[in-house]
């Protein structure tokens, strides 16, 4: 092993972090500055790193764009519904995989995870005819269903890993106290599993919130369009490319998500099981 505290490794790792940080944050920086530049500056051949003159006009026009609100609402409905259903399914599936022994448990789990190994663009090709034949094309349930298909395996696996760590003695104690299996799950296991459940919910939510491809393909109607394709088709279509507007609108619509994350992030680090055993 090399020494992590040595000067050289500090410099190497520090440099690495700067590079990674740049990749992570530069796009956000570019989004913000682009949104604040006026069109003349925005389309200069040699882009400016810092806006010479700050303008909020892109933001005002984005707020005035009423379609954005419809898209935002649609995204909230599809993402909220798919994340909720997905989390509920993953909770029960994950717990069953973690704490019950039955034939076929391992194969079923592997089978579920194997769905994750295909590029999701590829799966869209087979999903499309399925949706068509089920009459789910251009419907919200269809889109929600396809999001669940993709987020469920990983969500289940995440909760499976967590539930596996719930001490068996805790469950045994409740059983000895006279609780039924479902009762144990709902009154003992669930209450101590809030942080991982919130994490899984956010993961599933992000999955559908960030989606462009599925929504763009499966939804045709304007009134059901979600925010990703909505932004794209509003600002960057065949006839014009309003980069400043796109950036300002993107920033505005990410605000609710950023705020939600700030409130929920404490769940990620909270350790609720402390004091249960030992």
């Amino acid at each position: 092993m090399f020494d992590l505290s040595s000067r050289i490794s500090k410099i190497v790792f520090g440099g690495l972090l700067v590079v990674i940080g740049f990749y992570l944050f530069f796009p956000i920086y570019w989004m913000i500055t682009s949104a604040l530049k006026n069109n003349a500056e925005l389309y200069q051949i040699i882009p400016t790193f810092f806006p010479h003159e700050i303008t909020f006009s892109h933001f005002w026009s984005a707020i005035a764009e009423s379609r954005l609100l419809v898209y935002l609402g649609n995204s909230l409905i599809t993402s909220g519904a798919s994340a909720t259903i997905n989390t509920i399914l993953a909770i029960y599936a994950g717990y069953s995989f973690a704490k019950y022994r039955y034939a076929g448990r391992q194969p079923i789990m592997l089978f579920m995870l194997s769905a994750q190994m295909f590029p999701f663009g590829l799966l869209l090709i087979s999903l499309y005819p399925v949706m068509t034949s089920l009459g789910l094309l251009d419907t919200r349930p269809g889109l929600i269903l396809s999001y669940i298909v993709f987020a469920l395996p990983v969500a289940t696996y995440m909760l499976y890993s967590y539930f596996s760590q719930v001490p068996d003695e805790l469950i045994d104690a409740a059983r000895a106290d006279g609780a039924s299996d479902l009762r144990i799950f709902h009154t003992i296991v669930l209450p101590i599993s809030v942080p991982p459940i919130v994490t899984v919910f956010l993961y599933s939510f992000m999955w559908s919130w960030n989606d462009l491809l599925y929504s763009l393909t499966l939804i045709v109607s304007e009134d059901k369009r979600t925010i990703g394709p909505g932004l794209l088709l509003t600002y960057l279509n065949e006839t014009n490319a309003d980069w400043g507007g796109a950036m300002a609108a993107s920033l505005l619509v990410s605000l609710p998500i950023v705020i939600a994350f700030m409130f929920l992030q404490r769940y990620f680090i909270q350790g609720v099981t402390a004091g249960a055993v030992k």
Binding site: E169, L170, D172, R175, A176, D177, G178, G275, V277, K278
Partner: protein
């Protein structure tokens, strides 16, 4: 009345048989300790009695009612787990009242029973706290309290004190002894701690590899172990074992000397002598074993002397009472009273115990 009866109880996990036919009776109000090396099946047996696992074969009865298929809560048994297993999101009061709440006990009665148990265990001031806000000893008390409020017919403890530090362990041991006096309920207690078993139990069950080796009172096991396993397991420091050499009549060669055993013992191969039945004397005294004193340990109340005998690997442990100044790395004699020797046959069964009186009793 809470009498527990096991008849040829077996338990297998898949193809491995962990318990290989346990016959055992625990009388009403008795305090029974299960001891045995780690992995011998103590916890498994306790879980079967509790009803957490199903027995593979055999019969289990509580007060003459066969409970093989009765779920845990209906058996009237409460178990205290090694890891405490407190519900982390519930307060102490909620933890203790959980079983009663499930059983539909009226709220007022739950509160009153929880408070009564908490007072006895001196945790009444912590009823609103969460387990993580308690010390190890307090958590242990809550775990015991959770069992007490149910007023079970039988208490089960699975190494309840093994997570506590030495001082707290002694304190809780006394607490459990008091609880036994006060409640008079049947209790089964798994431990690997000799002192806990010897001091608390009316009856000790020695388990080894899924079988009962011996059942008896602490002193019976100490004085008249039925075989070499029990002899070596009960007592601390462990019993010394010496292989018998060439025989002349009733006299046998031993490393560094010889011993004359009781007449008529056929098939004797090994003797066992407890450290407290040996004495260090000057080298060369007749009738003693000659060896080299290699090390001493001073415990204040006792001194342990370790003697290397010629031709043996294991050091002979001699327990001397009080402070004894001994020079190490010198030749010494070890005095051995033949009447204090346990004699074992090749298969480990005991041919003669140290005290003939106790042997007749056994």
């Amino acid at each position: 009345m809470s009498r527990l009866e096991l008849k040829d109880v077996r338990k297998s996990f898949g193809t491995t048989e962990v318990l290989k036919g346990i016959d055992l009776t625990v009388e009403d109000g008795e305090f029974v300790a299960f001891v045995g090396p780690s992995g011998c099946g103590k916890s498994t047996l306790l879980r079967l009695i509790c009803g957490l696992d199903e027995i593979t074969a055999g019969q289990m009865a509580i007060d003459r009612e066969i409970v093989n298929d009765v779920p845990p809560a209906k058996r009237g048994i409460a178990m205290v787990f090694q890891s405490y297993a407190l519900y982390p999101h519930m307060s102490v009061a909620q933890n203790m009242g959980y079983a009663l709440r499930l059983a539909g006990t009226p709220k007022a009665e739950i509160e009153q029973r929880v408070l009564a148990a908490a007072k006895v265990l001196r945790i009444a001031d912590y009823l609103e706290r969460k387990p993580r806000q308690l010390s190890g000893g307090q958590r242990q008390r809550v775990a015991i309290g959770r069992a007490i409020v149910r007023e079970p017919r039988i208490f089960l403890f699975d190494e309840p004190l093994s997570n506590l530090d030495a001082a707290l362990r002694v304190e809780m041991r006394i607490e459990i002894a008091r609880m036994k006096e006060r409640l008079g309920t049947t209790m089964i207690y798994v431990t690997h701690d000799q002192i806990e078993a010897m001091t608390l139990a009316d009856k000790i069950v020695v388990l080894n590899a899924g079988r009962v080796e011996q059942v008896g009172s602490p002193l019976e096991l100490y004085n008249a172990p039925v075989n070499r396993f029990v002899a070596g397991f009960i007592g601390s420091p462990k019993m010394n074992f010496l292989t018998l050499g060439a025989r002349h009549g009733d006299s046998y060669a031993l490393p560094g000397g010889e011993i004359a055993l009781r007449a008529g013992l056929e098939g004797a191969t090994t003797i066992g002598v407890r450290p407290e039945h040996l004495e260090i004397v000057e080298a060369g005294r007749s009738g003693t074993l000659g060896g080299t004193l290699t090390m001493t340990e001073h415990l204040g109340s006792d001194t342990y002397a370790y003697v290397a005998l010629p031709g043996t690997e294991d050091l002979l442990v001699v327990r001397l009472s009080g402070e004894r100044a001994l020079k190490t790395n010198q030749k010494v004699g070890v005095a051995l009273d033949p009447g204090m020797a346990h004699v074992f046959a090749a298969d480990g069964t005991m041919l003669a115990s140290a005290r003939p009186v106790a042997l007749e009793a056994a």
